[in-house]
Symmetry: C2
Subunit: 157 residues, 2 copies
DNA sequence: ACCATATTGAAAATGGTATTCAATATCAAT
DNA sequence: ATTGATATTGAATACCATTTTCAATATGGT
């Protein structure tokens, strides 16, 4: 059976000579149950509700810690906030972002990944990570103008 | 013959009821001759050398103006700076970014673009723009074994 | 339990970017 | 050209997400 996130965190902390604290565990639990792509402030508000004692700075620090521990991905979209995404065992994926309503959809496309590797190889680059973001209008924000060929079922995550 | 950037800017300004100023023209000329992916601060330093009277805020404002006028692309990589890239008639391209030395290479790959459109269509998204960035080690930095303290003057997180 | 030190919370600092405001420049109308 | 309405400038200040400081507290090895 897989290790729980709390166990993984404890292991990371021990390995780094850092300490387990109740704050870190509480924040981790709330982080896991929060939606994807939470900002520090969004998470802080959730944390505050459940554990009024925990401070703003601790949430910030802890989120960065999660990223360092490999439990979360840190992403900066174009809205000025750093967002964190819990990295359970979910595959790598990229994002579609609505510039009007802020909706974030996820997708993965193996063929794009392969082409990226080709590009990297051609440039003698050793890729560590990448980001691919498509900005535009989601279906709802495009208004009532329905485009031909845009009517199939949804396969959103 | 194509219109010059200065002409394009003038046209945009006139169309918006805005005014042509010597500052805007000077900044545009320096912007064009500056390297790709300049930050506001980098450009300000160049501007200051050539035209000591022009202020910091004007450079910031003017760079955003260029982006609004379609003369520049505004990009935020992961180094905390907003960078601007002169958009002459250069094709769209994406970036390879060295996480060690900061080198930025450009590439374009039509097959990736096509796949992106497929993804968008499948999700009923109307793409306005996109960003694809591959972060990793450039050829030169793959050889370095030392953890090298950052050497650059400033601009390091 | 002791102790060295990692961590916390609150406040203040940081740093890139945005805005305010009085002075000045631009442009259309005269 | 001169005028007048207003867009623009430069300097200073505000903004705001994020980071850091620091004294108090909690943690883990002994």
């Amino acid at each position: 059976m897989r290790k729980t996130a709390v166990e993984l965190l404890a292991k990371y902390l021990a390995g780094q000579g850092l300490r387990s604290t109740t704050q870190r565990d509480k924040i981790l639990q709330i982080f896991i149950n929060a939606g994807r792509h939470v900002s520090a402030e969004e998470l802080y508000m959730r944390v505050m509700k459940a554990h009024p004692g925990i401070g703003y700075a601790t949430v910030y620090r802890t989120l960065k810690l999660f990223a360092a521990a490999g439990l979360a991905d840190e992403r900066r979209f174009e809205d000025g906030f750093t967002r964190y995404e819990y990295k359970a065992s979910s595959n790598h994926h990229d994002h579609l972002i609505c510039t009007k309503c802020g909706l974030i959809l996820e997708f993965e496309n193996q063929r794009i990944e392969v082409l990226q590797q080709d590009v990297a190889k051609k440039n003698h680059f050793k890729v560590q990570n990448h980001k691919l973001e498509l900005y535009g209008l989601c279906e709802a924000c495009q208004g009532k103008k329905i485009q031909a060929g845009n009517k199939d079922t949804k396969n959103r995550k």
